[in-house]
């Protein structure tokens, strides 16, 4: 059964009575039928009759007549517009001429639609809109014309300005400047005197001097406007700016008033179901054209272009550098040419998938947009015009638009490579299969878990050392840094600034430099080795003894990392209010109690995420391991020839992937490391205040 609502609604829910009597009649019948009763059958018959006689319904006849007349009118208006254009004064500024034409059209339309106000909302809208235009445009035009004339007059005046006077004036200004400067100097001297007498503080002196200088500048600037020429130029400049700004502003106000009129004059259509959205969902932009939103359609057509010229062809393998789009992801260049590389096929496949995801998203987005507009139209809400769309885009679309560059960089620089690595971990890429490799399922993971094979056998050993290293080295650095911060923060310690500056150094000097230098100094005849030998008579062999290397690494990281923790804790310690401690002292707390009950909780609470970050950092601290001893010393009997005894997982991965080219298994370990790290960071961030805050 065909049914309509008796009322139309706008987007803030106001009700409007239908003007289309034919539809109104149907709606009324609908309601009666719904109420039911004895005459239900009869009513339904009546409704069907009504629908059958749609074309001959008096209202429809009237409406059609109106539409035809409107067509004729619009045609004649076009010729009228051309004629009017020719009669326009060519000396008027371009903008004013354009507005005058608009005004002419508005006047004509106003006259035409006046008679049809009661017939349809469309006509009423046109009537009200053009009435507004008719009232407002002349003011804007007058303003432009007036100001333009003023500019012309000013230009005229400029010719009359005596240039000799100008020169004289320049001298005058010079004189004025000198006077003012003298005055300024005098005032400054007075200030200095006051300072010397101890009446004002140094800060006050500086501030006062600044104010005086500002005053001097203002006075000179003001004086310079006494020059007619300068004055004249300024006037022209300001008027030009004014025309531009104010016209823009006025038009904006006008447009938002029109929006209001559009809202209170709902749209009335016979359509009852959204169709366009479903029919055109494959082609973003087309639906918008049907909805009459042409400029919006242009934007969506760009999306169409992307989908059909880039997204889909790329996914199908056209325009690829070497690969075959998504298919390449499955074949991995198997049976391809010699130059074809599986890795390239894989990456292009991943790219293709990302393109497809973007395309699907665009399709969905456009579909949703068209559907919403259509459904609103049926309810009575007019499709947004460009002015309205623009302001909505500026308001609600802002965060999306602004985040776009970040999204693009993250997708291409982070997501694509990470996905590649994840996929690589399921392939057999190794030194013998560099250019062509194939999927091998979870064999890599199996090898790692069981501790089998070339790479797997050392995995658990390395993991063990990595965990020990992370826990011990980071904890050492944290304890050292915190203890030092506590000591330096003691009230009675003097020379705090010096200590802080010195303790900052390990953090400030680029780590790679200190690590390399320590590495040199700890070599058999390096500075530290010799020093220790001289002092205690112990001959160190840090570079060849696994235990010594490990201890040295942990100490070195303690040296490096404590600096950062020291500064961090210092910052927090200084922010703890003193009254807490004073209150505790009153109650008889000992030093130890104060530390345990006040200092530790506050510092820990504030720095937990950063401390977690330190553990994560050390878990992946490639530089120190690789630069210090290259992961060595190497003990082939235990570690094979792929890793050394001080290798962390991260440097082990480096050796596997970059040096020995076991990319497949390296990727598997990377995935393992990444998941572990992500989990730990998640724990850290989850409890951080930033994520708990409600504003997010």
């Amino acid at each position: 059964m065909i049914s309509y609502n008796r009322f139309l609604y706008d987007d803030i829910g106001n009700k409007y009575k239908r003007k289309n009597l034919y539809l109104l009649e149907i709606a009324e019948l609908n309601e009666k039928i719904k109420v039911g009763g004895d005459s239900k059958k009869e009513l339904e018959l009546q409704l069907n009759r009504l629908i059958d006689t749609r074309k001959t319904h008096p209202y429809n006849i009237k409406l059609n007549k109106f539409k035809e007349e409107e067509k004729v009118f619009l045609k004649s208006l076009k010729t009228g517009e051309k004629d009017f254009k020719n009669t326009l004064d060519k000396s008027l500024p371009y903008k004013a001429r354009k507005l005058k034409i608009q005004l002419f059209i508005a006047e004509e339309k106003y006259k035409f639609y006046k008679d049809y106000v009661d017939l349809a909302y469309d006509a009423k809208l046109e009537y009200e809109k053009n009435k507004l235009l008719k009232e407002e445009l002349p003011k804007i035009i007058e303003y432009i014309v007036h100001e333009t004339l003023a500019i012309e007059k000013a230009l005229e005046d400029r010719k009359k300005i005596d240039l000799n006077n100008e020169n004289k004036f320049k001298l005058e200004i010079k004189e004025f400047k000198r006077e003012q400067k003298e005055f300024l100097g005098e005032e400054k001297r007075k200030l200095k005197e006051k300072r010397e007498r101890g009446l004002i503080s140094k800060k006050a002196q500086i501030n006062e001097a600044k104010i005086l200088k500002q005053k001097y500048k203002e006075a000179v600037a003001l004086k310079s406007y006494d020059s007619p020429l300068k004055m004249n130029k300024e006037i022209i400049k300001s008027k030009k700016h004014g025309i531009k700004r104010n016209t823009k502003l006025n038009l904006k106000i006008l447009n938002s008033n029109i929006s209001d009129i559009r809202r209170t004059n709902p749209i009335e259509v016979e359509k009852r179901r959204a169709k366009i959205a479903y029919l055109t969902f494959l082609f973003p932009g087309v639906g918008q054209i049907f909805n009459g939103q042409y400029r919006k359609a242009c934007i969506f057509l760009l999306a169409s272009l992307f989908i059909y010229l880039i997204g889909i062809p790329y996914a199908l393998g056209f325009g690829n550098y070497q690969g075959e789009g998504i298919r390449g992801l499955i074949t991995l260049a198997e049976g391809g040419r010699r130059v074809d590389k599986s890795l390239i096929f894989m990456i292009e496949g991943i790219l293709a998938i990302f393109f497809v995801i973007i395309s699907l998203f665009l399709l969905y987005f456009s579909f949703k947009d068209v559907l919403k507009v259509e459904k609103n139209t049926i309810k009575g809400i007019r499709p947004k015009n460009w002015f309205e769309t623009k302001s909505i885009l500026g308001e609600e679309g802002f965060p999306y638009v602004v985040n776009l560059p970040a999204l693009i960089v993250i997708v291409f620089m982070v997501l694509v490579p990470v996905t590649t690595t994840v996929l690589l971990s399921f392939t057999g890429m190794d030194p013998n299969h560099q250019s062509k490799f194939s999927w091998i399922g979870i064999k890599n993971y199996k090898m790692i878990a069981m501790g089998e094979g070339l790479a797997g056998s050392v995995f658990w050993l390395t993991l063990g050392w990595t965990i020990i290293w992370t826990l011990v080295a980071t904890t050492l650095a944290i304890l050292l840094g915190f203890a030092l911060a506590l000591l330096v923060n003691n009230d009675r310690v003097k020379g705090k600034a010096i200590f802080r500056t010195i303790y900052l150094l390990p953090w400030a000097v680029p780590a790679f430099i200190t690590i390399m230098f320590f590495s040199i100094m700890l070599s058999p005849n390096g500075a530290i080795s010799q020093l220790i030998n001289n002092l205690w008579g112990i001959s160190l062999s840090v570079k060849t003894n696994a235990t010594q290397t490990r201890i040295a690494l942990i100490l070195l990281q303690g040296w490096l990392g404590s600096s950062y923790i020291f500064l961090l804790s210092t910052g927090v310690l200084q922010a703890i209010p003193n009254d807490l401690y004073e209150a505790a002292e009153m109650d008889g707390a000992t030093i130890w109690q104060k530390l345990r009950r006040i200092t530790l909780p506050i510092v820990l609470f504030q720095t937990t995420p950063l401390l977690v970050g330190q553990y994560v950092f050390n878990f992946n601290n490639f530089s120190i391991i690789y630069l210090f001893n290259g992961g060595g010393p190497f003990e082939p009997s235990i570690y094979g020839n792929l890793a050394g005894s001080s290798d962390l997982l991260i440097s082990y991965i480096y050796k596997l992937t970059i040096e020995k080219q076991y990319q497949g298994i390296g990727a598997a370990i990377t995935v393992f490391v990444s998941i572990a790290v992500m989990f730990v960071s998640f724990l850290g961030y989850r409890n951080s205040k930033a994520f708990k805050e409600e504003r997010l």
Partner: protein, 297 residues
């Protein structure tokens, strides 16, 4: 006169006088602090010393023979590509800082001031993805570079490096900046909006000027990053011509052909000095910025 003498003996501090055990503790504190200071300064001092010691050739020596000379610096400037490396590093660092600033200033503002779908989830996702070492993508970076550069030869390896650095820093920096902008009262925005500012104007005229200290910090961090990083340049950059300082200096101690440890010390010194000065001057802001971003955010 007697009165005055008495005043000299008065104890004027508002702290309690130290007991004997307190004095001993204070002395121990000083001993610890000073010995740690020595532990920091001594190795660094050795580096400075060896950079100027003319008595050594290819290897660093610690002996009592010290002759002041600038020959290692001369070697550094004449025999190696030190200046070129420095230039590369500065260019990469600048580009990274600028790119990061442009991207992050927008995201920080958007994440702080707007509600949009998937805000919390996307921020969390970004933070987690960020936790993955950059290293994870290294195999892909290689291939991606070769693909892009064969399509567009103007795309250099250094450009790739810049993009990787910038991409890697987005999440953290957004997070930090968001925290900072959150602490700016929204009343300012509202007032500006009532006066007719658009979103972009609020961003440009209100938020950015106030967030300048944090933006400066972010720029500084992104700028220093490439100076500190050794891994990516080593892997991605292939010719000595295109090395950054870290990768270049490493060749001075790792490669037998170019081995010259004192020159490394000299180069390290030259690299470290500007950064150290920067850190010392800005230490307060650096530290407060660090804790602010993660804590108050």
């Amino acid at each position: 006169m007697k009165l005055f003498r008495k005043k000299d003996d008065l104890y004027l501090s508002d702290k309690q006088p130290l007991s004997i055990s307190g004095k001993i503790l204070l002395i121990i504190t000083y001993i610890i602090l000073i010995s740690w200071a020595v532990a920091i300064i001594w190795p660094l001092f050795q580096m400075v010393l060896s950079a100027f010691n003319g008595k050594q050739e290819q290897y660093l020596m610690l002996n009592d023979q010290f002759v002041f000379s600038l020959k290692h610096f001369e070697y550094l400037f004449n025999k190696t590509l030190f200046l070129k490396w420095a230039k590369n590093t500065i260019l990469i660092a600048l580009a990274t800082a600028i790119l990061t600033l442009i991207i992050v200033s927008f995201t920080g503002y958007a994440y702080s001031r707007y509600r949009f779908k998937g805000k919390k989830a996307s921020l969390m996702a970004m933070m987690l993805i960020q936790a993955i070492p950059t290293f994870a993508g290294i195999t892909a970076y290689f291939t991606m570079y070769s693909v892009i550069s064969s399509i567009n030869p103007a795309f250099t390896r250094q450009l790739m490096l810049v993009l990787i650095y910038a991409g890697g820093g987005i999440a953290n920096n957004t997070f930090i900046l968001k925290g900072y902008i959150d602490s700016i009262s929204t009343e300012l925005d509202d007032a500006a909006k009532i006066d007719g500012c658009s979103n972009l104007q609020v961003y440009r005229l209100i938020i950015m000027p106030i967030a300048k200290p944090m933006l400066a910090l972010i720029a500084l961090w992104s700028f220093i990053g490439p100076f500190m990083d050794y891994l990516l340049p080593k892997v991605l950059l292939t010719s000595p011509e295109s090395y950054t300082l870290a990768a270049g200096l490493f060749t001075l101690i790792n490669d037998v052909r170019t081995l010259n440890q004192p020159a490394f010390a000299a180069g390290g010194l030259l690299t470290a000095i500007p950064i150290v000065i920067l850190f010392i001057v800005l230490q307060k802001q650096l530290v407060s910025g660090l804790s602010q971003g993660s804590v108050k955010g």
